[in-house]
């Protein structure tokens, strides 16, 4: 315990006492450090809680909990693979649709539109981020799902039906629709961050490229996209993080079946949606433990994807400099 107190004391005080001359400065630094430690403690307590409560299922099934796909609470079968699959596929669909649109609108806002237009449009895009996800879900049920069922899915089946991704009866409610709503939801995040990135690129760079005789497209490609590449990646990671953790709108549109199907038109389920669906009425201790385990898995998968993206960012930063 004394060791723990010493460690905590060191974290809290560190070298603060030596460099700060005034007492008020010292108190201020101490206060800030206390807040920082609080955040770390919350983080640790979440990991600890998830792990402790998931222990019954982890000790029973071990790794099989993550590699089995059958989920049947009535027969005590708990495999999380179908949910991990659902989370990754819906997020991927979301990125495929959102990234080009977000990049395009960010380029338009910073490079092409006059400021009298870019300000209000930029504001509107940021407002999109403020809409609660349950509202997105409602819009999805009443507008997006019927539209996808009546137009998008029949169209894709007609022309690309030979691909395994577009098999099955179109219901409107599917992994595909859930991915689309996620795309709309992460669009403002990616656009806003990209816009900030592009605005931060100094004009001298653009002027330099133009002076070399580049066309407008070449200027955007060389001066904006390549210079801002790391920033764009950060924006995509931020969007991906939101897509993976999104619960309400996805639950309303995905059909909630723990199946792994090659078809995007099949119903599915994500890690967040199964927790939202089954946690309040979990039938047994093991069921609860499994849902907590899925929470832990979501945490780890998000951490893994974010870590990977950070690695890519660090790698490309080094390559560029």
């Amino acid at each position: 315990l004394t060791v723990a107190a010493k460690v905590l004391g060191h974290i809290l005080l560190g070298s603060a006492g030596q460099s700060e001359v005034r007492k008020s400065d010292f108190a201020f630094v101490l206060f800030l450090r206390l807040l920082a430690v609080l955040v770390i403690l919350v983080f640790c307590s979440i990991v600890f809680y998830l792990f402790k409560n998931a222990l019954p299922i982890l000790s029973r099934d071990g790794w099989h909990f993550l590699t089995e796909s059958s989920w049947n609470p009535n027969e005590d079968q708990f495999g999380a693979l179908a949910f991990i699959y659902g989370t990754l596929v819906t997020s991927l669909v979301a990125l495929v649709f959102a990234v080009p649109v977000a990049l395009g609108s960010a380029i338009f806002l910073t490079e092409i539109a006059p400021s009298s237009l870019s300000r209000p449009v930029g504001f509107l895009i940021e407002m999109l981020a403020a809409i609660p996800s349950v509202v997105y879900g409602l819009w999805g049920i009443f507008v997006l799902a019927p539209f996808v069922r009546d137009y998008v899915q029949p169209f894709l089946q007609k022309y690309f039906g030979f691909l395994p991704f577009f098999e099955g009866t179109p219901f409107g409610i599917s992994i595909f629709t859930a991915g689309l709503i996620l795309a709309v939801m992460i669009l403002p995040t990616i656009t806003a961050v990209c816009r900030e990135v592009f605005l931060a690129i100094p004009n001298t760079l653009r002027e330099g490229v133009l002076a070399m005789g580049a066309t407008r497209w070449e200027t955007i490609r060389l001066a904006v996209l390549e210079t801002g590449f790391v920033g764009i990646l950060s924006a995509v990671v931020l969007g991906l993080g939101r897509a993976m953790g999104e619960t309400m709108a996805v639950t309303m549109l995905i059909g909630n079946r723990p199946v792994i199907s090659s078809s995007l038109f099949s119903p599915g389920a994500t890690m967040a949606s199964v927790i939202a669906n089954e946690y309040p009425e979990a039938s047994s201790q093991l069921h609860l433990a499994s849902l907590t385990g899925i929470g832990l898995a979501l945490f780890i998968v998000s951490l893994g994807v974010n870590g990977l993206a950070r690695l890519i960012i660090a790698f490309s930063k080094r390559r560029m400099s």
Binding site: V39, V230, L238
Partner: protein
């Protein structure tokens, strides 16, 4: 230079918000417990009935203060066992294994009756007729088309389309699912052991949250069939299938036909401490997918709280209280069963 984009600052502010909201939530739950109110939680299905009973009871007994939260049957039972609420409402009897862990015996008092109805989106002139066996096959995916011979046989003269059946179910754990699948298990051997609050439905079916979610799926997609709770279906004027009962009659769900399902089972009910299933009733005119909803209390309680709670439970079982819920479409518990339940309440130990 690039402006630095700080990813960590965003997650930081979210963590702080979570802590603050947790602290606020804990403040509120504590203040409620000290106020001397009787707290209940559980079944969302029975919530309108409890709300009505509580407001009527508080008009009669000026000092009484009660509170019921519709958090779901399972969550209500959990809170009762943990001691955070004084009574629970449930549509699904407590499992013996859970009851064994309780600090005292758990009494199941039947307080009202409800039903699960089958709703559909199909342009047909008269209500669809379905039997238990056919329902079981539709909901496990083995009957795939509306003009299937087995459905056509039950609906002579009805023009059934050559259209695929889309099946909508509850995706959240629910007493409604428990009652519906318990009925399917009674009428079809294939469903035995597969019933419960969370069911492993066949992969091509769709799941949605709550009665509203299932209704949304059914209304939005022609050719869809789903199950919802009776009161929700009546309030929203949903089409309801007539279901064949044990006597072979096609019965439409209503408070009256549901009440019939509990006729003549007094002996069985008191022998099983009221944890009795009334699906697939053999009574004439009875609706086959009917169920009790129970009030759960401990059979041993501290004097002050116990007195008030028993008083409230006795009020619920009175003729007045049972009559009052008819206007919100709940069926009353038959008098014989209520008399036995009152006897059981009389044996509650107060110390």
């Amino acid at each position: 230079m690039l402006r630095k984009i700080n990813l960590s600052s965003i997650s930081l502010s979210m963590d702080v918000a979570a802590v603050i909201s947790a602290v606020i939530a804990s403040l509120f739950t504590h203040s409620a417990a000290f106020a001397g109110t009787l707290n209940g939680a559980g079944s969302t299905f029975a919530e309108p009935a409890y709300s009505l009973w509580i407001s009527d009871f508080q008009k009669k007994e000026k000092d009484a203060r009660l509170n019921y939260q519709g958090v779901g049957s399972g969550a209500g039972m959990k809170q009762l066992l943990e001691g955070t609420v004084d009574f629970a409402g449930t549509d699904d009897p407590m499992k013996d294994a859970d009851a064994a862990k309780a600090k005292a015996g758990v009494l199941h008092i039947p307080v009202a009756m409800g039903a699960v109805v089958v709703t559909y989106n199909l342009a047909v002139e008269k209500p669809l007729k379905l039997s238990g066996a056919v329902l079981a096959k539709i909901f496990n995916g083995s009957i795939k088309k509306w003009n299937d011979a087995e459905i056509a046989k039950l609906n002579p003269g009805v023009n059934l389309p050559d259209k695929g059946i889309a099946v909508a179910t509850r995706s959240d754990g629910s007493g409604t699912t428990a009652v519906f699948t318990e009925y399917l298990a009674k009428v079809s051997p294939e469903w035995v052991g597969k019933n419960g609050k969370t069911v492993n439905w066949f992969p091509a079916s769709l799941g949605a949250k709550g009665n509203a979610g299932v209704t949304g799926l059914v209304k939005g997609n022609p050719g869809t069939i789903g199950y919802v709770e009776l009161i929700y279906a009546l309030e929203n004027k949903l089409p309801m299938a007539q279901i064949a009962n044990k006597k072979g009659e096609y019965v439409e769900a209503s408070a009256a036909s549901v009440a019939l399902a509990a006729h003549g089972i007094e002996k069985e009910a008191s022998a099983k401490q009221f944890k009795v299933s009334i699906t697939d009733s053999a009574e004439k005119g009875a609706y086959p997918i009917s169920a009790f909803t129970w009030l759960l209390v401990f059979d041993k309680m501290p004097k002050e709280k116990g007195d008030a709670l028993v008083k409230f439970a006795k009020y619920i079982l009175s003729d007045d209280a049972q009559k009052s819920i008819a206007k919100i479409n709940f069926a009353a518990v038959p008098k014989g069963i209520r008399a036995d339940a009152l006897k059981a309440l009389g044996k509650v130990q107060l110390d």
